[in-house]
Amino acid sequence: MRVLILLLFPLFAFSQKDSLSISIENGRILYDDFCIRCHLPNGKGQIGIIPPLAKSDFLYKHMEESIKALKFGGIDGEIIVNGVKYNSRMEKMGLYNDEIADVMNYILNSWGNKSDLMITEEYVDKLKK
């Protein structure tokens, strides 16, 4: 029995990692289509106009709010990201929930960002306005 577990464990770990890397790859394609024009290829945005996603303190502190912004279209009012004020609302992109999960996983694992948490479609499904 113990042997079996030992045998299965790496397999399980591998498939976990695999689904994340697939999600990240899907997310990269979606990012290039829907996000890149404003948030730019390096995720740095445009200071004072479009908030950065790369090493964004806001993104980590307000993860749920950020994903909701993607699902429902923007955040009302002023936010402060890495010490800079932003006040332009992002429009709703019309992404499906699985796509929102993918693009979030790409953002959370790009440009020096790192996250152990994998965003799933089920998680995005449950988010309410």
């Binding site: 890149i36 290829p41 390096n42 200071i47 090493k55 279209g73 429009e91 992109m93 019309g94």
Partner: protein, 382 residues
């Protein structure tokens, strides 16, 4: 403690590098040496209708009140007394990336027949992707009735890019509209059997003029008027020649102004002055036989969103020049031509926001819709 200090220092460092990079970006933005900001500003910008979404297009009634499309799928009549009336009867709209409810155009005889035309992104089957539809309806008692789809593009995609969507009538009553390449540049724009990357011409009832250039070409989309376009989103009818002019979103450094002529190939993606946004090459060709050169191309790209000819005499020497919305730089660009050559460019309404549509009212005032702000009227200082 050491660890904390290190963390703090690295945050500061990241913050500092972020700042400096962004400022470099800002200098790049001002690199366009050919455009100037006028020394003296002799107009005021008056916010006439507030809206925190994206007003994609505006159209004027005889009384100068405004019918506006909101990208998310609303049609609003902004009345002169300040009332906002939501027009009922819109179809289901595919909100996806750049797609949504787009342009509106009144029939040349709107006063009598109350017919209007709309472009909107449309998804036939959920999850399968969509493209751009053109529809006609009659405006009656704040509702759209007799709603009829006149053109439905068949090449659908889940991509969020390049829906085109501008509408314009010419002097002969033909309706022109644009559909962008739908993010499928190597397939759609050069193939006359596929939709996307084209300017189309139809009659006001949706039928196709028999003298369209590819009407008799087997398997071709008969409504195509010109092809090889990327994403034309600005369009006007020239008051003297009657020709349709467009401005088009290109790749990086490849935005263009074109005069649309019957049956011609405008070259995308076989020729372009631009490169991919990632910096890689699309093609080394800037010209090829049987492909049209643009009247003008922008370096750097401005992201041209709308286009209007200034007929009004309210703005002095502005009369006869062109206005193009620069989504990227958040101003209107006034363009002066001499013999169809661009000789002067200046920034109007600088830093106001992202312009989506620019149009003259019936009484000759230029109006511009700005994303997340609303509709502004440009009022000359007396």
């Amino acid at each position: 403690m050491k660890n904390k200090l290190f963390k703090l220092l690295s945050i500061l460092f990241i913050f500092a590098t972020n700042l400096s990079c962004a400022q470099l970006g800002e200098t790049f933005i001002r690199e366009d040496k050919d455009i100037v900001s006028p020394n003296e500003i002799n107009y005021d910008l008056e916010l006439v209708h507030e809206n925190d979404e994206i007003i994609w297009a505006i159209e004027f009634f005889e009384d100068n009140s405004i019918l506006a499309t909101v990208k998310s799928g609303k049609l609003i009549h902004y009345k002169n007394n300040g009332d906002e009336v939501l027009i009922k009867g819109l179809p289901k709209i595919y909100l996806r990336g750049q797609g949504g409810l787009m342009d509106i155009e009144f029939h040349p005889n709107f006063e009598k027949n109350k017919l209007l035309y709309l472009t909107y992104a449309y998804e036939k089957e959920e999850g399968k992707g969509g493209s751009t539809n053109v529809a006609r309806a009659k405006l009656e008692n704040d509702s759209l009735i007799d709603f009829e789809v006149l053109y439905e593009a068949t090449e659908v995609s889940r991509k969020g890019q390049h829906f085109g969507g501008r509408l314009e009538f010419d002097n002969d009553g033909f309706l022109y509209f644009s559909i962008g390449d739908r993010g499928n540049r190597d397939v759609n724009p050069q193939n006359l059997e596929l939709d996307g990357g084209k300017i189309y011409r139809i009659n006001d009832d949706g039928s196709i003029p028999k003298d369209n250039p590819f009407y008799n070409l087997p398997n071709a989309k008969k409504a195509i008027f010109s092809y090889g376009h990327r994403n034309p989103q600005g369009m006007f009818k020239h008051p003297t020649s009657g020709k349709i002019w467009t401005n088009e979103h290109g790749p990086k450094g490849g935005d263009e102004i074109n005069i649309i002529n019957k049956g011609l190939n405008y070259g995308w993606p076989k020729i372009t002055y631009g490169i991919n946004y990632s910096g890689t090459t699309i093609t080394k060709n800037k010209s090829l036989p049987n492909m049209e050169q643009p009247l003008y191309y922008w370096i750097p790209s401005i992201a041209p969103s709308c286009f209007e000819f200034i007929n009004s005499d309210r703005y002095g020497d502005w009369q006869g020049s062109l206005l193009a919305g620069a989504l990227k730089f958040k101003y209107l660009e006034r363009i002066v031509l001499d013999n169809n050559k661009v000789v002067y460019r200046e920034r109007i309404a600088e830093d106001l926001g992202r312009p989506r549509d620019v149009k003259e009212s019936k009484d000759g005032y230029i109006h511009v819709s700005i994303e997340n702000k609303g509709i502004y009227k440009i009022v000359p200082k007396s």
